[in-house]
């Protein structure tokens, strides 16, 4: 029934098909290829995005553009992720990607590697990258579209706020945006029918640019504005499309008044098969490259090491037996069920101590640390165990508070979390502990 309803909806969505220039914009995915499945209403992801784009009509009329920041961190996993992301943009017929600071963090050599074989154009009007990387960056992009016999020319410019790049990379130079834009705007304004700026900058900075350059019809802005915001400033519309790929913007400048619409990628959109196979392939790569064994690890807090649930269970039997019945005990199996057990990013919250030395490594090496174990909340307990054996007091060991829970039950992975209610669901039984 539900499926039928979805299909029905999808048909309906495709009905008001405006035959006109449609610019689709997205950005600041920061590594969110897919929603994690931790919440009841997962938003975003490339698989839903693809079906939204498919509903908007074919290529040629659609101009999807990307604002910048495809991935969030600098690790091998994120390199693979970026490659996957760029491949997905290619399959969705994106025409360009504006450079964000996180794209630079990953390294110009990696950008060069990834964009070398991609038809996607890299855009930046103010980021200069040393030519030794063999990376082609266009200061502007012009696209021409046939619209009812007449040709429409659209010019795209893109900037990165210099305030956002904090490392002094010797091969990269950033020109102040208004300085870089002035000559380009002058050069393009009479050559195109529409000028659009991709402004990878704090919202306020983008608003400033809109008053300096009234020539832009649309400024797609961003940088950590999680939710879509629209402001009009003179003739210019300044819009953010939110972060983590949850929303997609659609701009149809020629017909509808305002011409702007933001879509939230919720479960009205099905997940496209092409993107699901790309995601499956991504998981396979994480597994083949054995990234779980390569995560960076900090020394655990204090001098203790992780012991394992069964060890705790030898003395705290009641707590252990009860814990076994909670979802925390089978959190690793949940990932096996959804085939993400080789994905370090998922594993981090579904096991005990992944990012610490002596914590979870793999199901073979550290089977006692699978799942959200005792020490995921109480901290590594080897010293406590030794002290308990000697009959010493458990000096301040194992304080666990709402803050502990929220390292995992954060807004992204458990938006309904509230300590009292959740703790009552899994509270340990009272017990007599023998030392």
């Amino acid at each position: 029934m539900r499926l039928l309803a979805l299909i029905f909806l999808s048909l309906y969505i495709s009905l008001p098909s405006y035959a006109e220039v449609t610019i689709i914009f997205s950005g600041e995915e920061s590594g969110y290829l897919e929603p994690c499945g931790c919440t009841k209403e997962p938003l975003g992801g490339i698989a839903k995005r693809h079906s939204l784009l498919s509903l908007q009509g074919g290529p040629n009329k659609l101009l999807p553009i990307s604002l910048g920041d495809l991935v969030g961190h600098v690790t091998r996993q994120n390199e693979i992720k970026m490659e996957t992301m760029v491949e997905s943009l290619r399959q969705m017929d994106y025409i360009l990607h504006n450079i964000g600071e996180k794209d630079i963090h990953i390294g110009p050599e990696v950008l060069s590697y990834i964009f070398y074989s991609s038809p996607l154009e890299l855009l930046s009007s103010n980021v200069l990258i040393s030519s030794s990387y063999g990376l082609k960056v266009s200061p502007f992009v012009i696209k021409e579209i046939e619209e009812g016999g007449t040709k429409v020319k659209i010019g795209f410019l893109g900037i990165l706020s210099p305030h956002l790049l904090e490392d002094n990379h010797k091969d990269i130079e950033i020109i102040p945006p208004s300085e870089a834009l002035r000559p380009l705007v002058n050069q393009l304004k009479d050559r195109v029918d529409l000028l659009i700026l991709l402004s990878h900058a704090p919202f306020e900075e983008s608003l400033n640019l809109s008053s300096i350059f009234p020539e832009f019809q649309l400024i797609v802005s961003g940088h950590d504005v999680d939710h879509p915001i629209v402001r009009r400033s003179g003739n210019t519309t300044v819009v953010t499309c939110g972060t983590k790929g949850k929303h997609i913007g659609l701009y149809q400048p020629l017909h509808k008044p305002g011409g702007l619409e933001i879509f939230t990628l919720d479960d009205r959109y099905h997940e496209s098969q092409e993107m699901l196979s790309l995601l499956q392939s991504y998981q396979q790569r994480l597994r083949d490259e054995d990234l779980l064994s390569k995560v960076e690890r900090q020394a655990p807090p204090g001098d203790a090491a992780y012991a394992g649930n069964i060890i705790c269970g030898t003395c705290h039997q009641a707590a252990f037996l009860h814990w076994k019945t909670t979802g925390h005990a089978t959190a690793y199996e949940t990932l096996v069920r959804v085939e993400h057990q080789y994905d370090p990013e998922c594993i981090s919250c579904h096991v005990t101590g992944l990012y610490y030395t002596t914590g979870f490594e793999s199901i073979e090496n550290t089977p006692l640390l699978k799942g959200v174990g005792c020490e995921a909340c109480h901290g590594p307990g080897s010293l406590h165990k030794e002290q308990a054996i000697k009959g010493l007091k458990a000096e301040g060991y194992g304080k666990s508070t709402a803050g502990t829970c929220q390292t995992c039950h954060d807004l992204e992975h458990g938006p309904d979390f509230h300590f009292e209610g959740f703790w009552q669901k899994i509270i340990h039984p009272k017990e007599e502990v023998k030392g």
């Binding site: 909806l9 309906y12 969505i13 009905l15 008001p16 961190h73 600098v74 690790t75 091998r76 693979i80 963090h105 050599e109 990696v110 060069s112 590697y113 070398y116 074989s117 030519s131 030794s132 990387y133 063999g134 305030h163 904090e166 490392d167 002094n168 990379h169 010797k170 704090p202 919202f203 306020e204 950590d224 504005v225 999680d226 939710h227 879509p228 915001i229 629209v230 402001r231 009009r232 953010t240 939110g242 929303h247 619409e261 933001i262 879509f263 939230t264 499956q280 392939s281 991504y282 998981q283 396979q284 790569r285 083949d288 490259e289 960076e296 690890r297 900090q298 020394a299 929220q406 807004l411």
Partner: protein
Amino acid sequence: MRKRTPVPTRLIPLLLGLAMGGVLFGGENTSKLPRLVFDETQHNFGEVYRGEKVSHKFILKNEGEGTLEVQGVRPSCGCTAAAPSKNNLAPGEQGDIEVTFQSDVFVGKVTKTIVVDTNDPETPHYTLTIEADVKEEVTANPRRLFLEQVRQGQSLKTEIEIKAVTDLDLEVTKINSSSPVLELEKRQRGNTHIIEVSIKKDAPLGRFGGDILVFTNSKRQPVLTIPFFGEIISDISIFPPTISYGTISKGSEAMRQVLITIYQEGVKLTRLEAMPEFLNLREATETGGRFHRLEVIITKDAPAGRLEGSLKIYSTSKAQPIINVPVYAVVK
């Protein structure tokens, strides 16, 4: 005054409703509708220290005739909490939504939103915006450490300065690095704490990265995270370190690139070898600079199943005469 945001999220149900002849709203009893009005839709906290908590009450009023139900308040990020004073407002009644903002992650000008879901049919999802200029009490310079390429065996030393901008008598209690490649030491110069970062002589070849954690006595910023990144190189560096294709469908060709960078002048590649037989190599046109590009292709006749192979790069380098790059794919 009745203010509305320009309703950014004009969602599909609305369109649908209209397309279907307004069944969604047309059927409702229009005589007793609630009407949500906010005094202001935007608040600027001004300068806020990172780690500091600030809050603001947005006043809302029900100017309609039916009961206004606040069904949900959804902040856009974990740094924002919001709670309504009441969930039901009778006609004419006033309430507030208290928004608390704590920035642990961001620095600089930030904009966050809170979506308020109500049963007001006109704006079921109302967006409030908060702004702040987040300053740091304790600053690190540089904020990210980019170590570039370092030759194996060479020692590289660099410094991070940690300073307090308030009159806090700053103490650095502990420093940690998530990578065994780095060695950290701290010392003090006046009010400035210096973290000396050096790369271990026996660090393995390859890209490395992670976070340096600096623990301080600042209540607002007990921990500073400084990401670092670099690469230990020898004569030749290969990217990526492993060639993985993921899953590919049987009967189709798949390509991955390899970037070979020669750092030692005079070093020449002598031979390239790929195993097993359905791996082909194609040297891409030279792109200039220090890079050579190589295309590694799985041919159409690769059999179904797991493929484990290798790419061997032979060169005149004394340090790296043969470099082995593992290759993985699953053909389905």
